[in-house]
Symmetry: C2
Subunit: 323 residues, 2 copies
């Protein structure tokens, strides 16, 4: 009984945690076995999603949040998520060099994650990594996304509290994108609040927030900050604590944890079937004939998908290895 790797993670061994996370990204059994031991130990951390348009200063804000949370005695795990694939890895890492000021601090764990060409796999990988850090005992886990899109929405859905970072003077299109994540936001940080247009942006956000306010609902704060200087960042941490308290008192924490568990199960289920379908198609040349028929436009893709499914079911009947 007991998985040695998982035990080292639970004892706080950082390289072991990094290894489990990497193995889980690689969909490796070693990772899954460790996760099975870690999962029951997780569920205590406050998971905070941080998203917003490019250039809003998310990384700088995360850097400052770490400092303030540390000064308050909290340990902090950071997952910096870049769904725009391997290409941009280098550039983003550059931008995160400043976070290395925390590198010597044992109460801080920072990891960048990027897609590895697997559709939909990033939210699952981030979820797994959050479980590892949570089980390890980090009090707060910050999940930072690089942009704003469906992927980022899927990722912030993992969070108990979501910060949407905005900036003054952004064009209409950025405002529209911001509107796309309104629903997910638990608090707004108007960063670079020393720039022109801050008043206007703040009143715009406040109007949006008040439109959605209601009896017994969490009234989402709009906080001004200048992450570059650290101004306003302690107030963001205060709001996070207040939101955590609200989640627990209102029963919302249990609901969000349950949603997260349910969503995580479905994601892994879809992942598993996706892997199996791919493996079956790779292994059976006669399925390739259907792919060819679609290419030659003799068969439409829905009809072909139906036939592939029929074949997969009959294959499963003939040889048990796919079940």
């Amino acid at each position: 009984v007991g998985n040695a790797l998982a035990e080292r993670v639970l004892a706080g061994h950082v390289p072991s945690a990094a290894r489990v996370i990497r193995r889980l990204e690689d969909r490796d059994d070693e990772g899954r076995e460790a996760l099975a031991e870690l999962y029951p130990q997780s569920g205590r951390a406050q998971i905070v999603g941080i998203t917003g348009p490019p250039g809003a200063g998310k990384s700088t804000l995360v850097d400052r949040l770490i400092s303030v949370l540390r000064s308050r005695g909290k340990s902090v795990g950071v997952l910096a998520i870049d769904p725009t694939s391997p290409y941009s890895g280098g550039a983003i890492l550059c931008d995160r060099v400043r976070m290395q000021s925390h590198a010597a601090d044992k109460g801080v764990f920072i990891r960048s994650m990027a897609t590895r060409g697997q559709l939909g796999g990033l939210a699952r990988a981030a979820d797994d990594a959050a479980v590892v850090l949570d089980a390890m005992g980090f009090d707060v886990i910050l999940i930072e996304t690089v942009g704003v899109g469906q992927d980022e929405l899927d990722i912030v859905k993992l969070a108990h509290s979501t910060i949407v970072v905005c900036l003054p003077g952004a064009g209409d299109e950025i405002q529209a994108i911001k509107a796309g994540i309104m629903e997910a936001a638990d608090l707004f940080v108007l960063n670079k609040a020393d720039l022109p247009g801050a008043e206007e942006a703040e009143s715009h956000l406040s109007t949006l927030v008040h439109l959605e306010a209601g009896e017994g609902r969490w009234e989402r704060p709009v906080l001004r900050a200048v992450a570059e200087t650290g101004e306003g960042v302690p107030a963001v941490c205060d709001a996070l604590s207040k939101h955590a308290a609200h989640l627990h008192e209102s029963g919302e924490f249990v609901r969000r944890s349950a949603d997260r568990a349910r969503h995580g199960l479905f994601e892994r289920l879809h992942d598993l079937t996706r892997e199996r379908i791919q493996r079956s198609i790779d292994a059976h040349a006669d399925l390739q004939a259907l792919v060819d028929a679609v290419m030659r436009r003799e068969l439409d893709p829905y009809a072909a998908a139906d036939r592939v499914l029929e074949k997969l079911v009959s294959l499963r009947g003939r040889d048990g290895s796919d079940a």
Copy 2:
């Protein structure tokens, strides 16, 4: 023989085309039956993806491209894709009001598409809509995305030619995102080229392009434009024609069409299995017990997914309705 709705689409009836596209978005059988008739008639259009960071002026460029393509006698279908979900629909549509100047032109079809809460469904829906417009006889289909992320990458993968729109003076983070779609770009449009920083941005892009240039490869042009005034837009259309010719001469057109067909089949296959898994879980209360165990952290999500799959296979054995 013959589907009446599909026949009306092939005869150029715009409301019927809009109806088929909506039915396909709704995953309705009526849509799939029409698509089965339309699919063999598709494969002639040049499908052009247009992506780039928020604020780069993609909508304005699309508006100008329509005018130039129309003046050259080409019919144009436009799919304006917003993966950031229903919330932002209104704002984006506002931005697209200018496109209504083409509303009276029978040679132009414009449609906005947004996710309907279905993960990964937007690329499929855009693919279906492109097949409908293609079968209808539109010469060029412009697929415009609202931002830059994995969703947008999946969508531009549908295209034969992809335009990446950049703007001068964007921050490092936007540059990094742009780097994320470098691989997908067939041509770069440096829009708002009358702004300061245009020279620098152009030389940055040219350097990136030359790094990747090689014998017999398409050398990706970097074109300066001011979409607002229309300046440089005819040259973008010229480059699109040149790229189309290159695709045909090099055999790349066939390869990209084949990739598109293969990718489309896999997407629909995953969609179908996803639907079936969801339906099975909804229908069988004993599967809910596994979901509950994950929520209570008695079972990790991978172990639970394995057990659900086992159950689905045995359900399929007992009752044929899922096969």
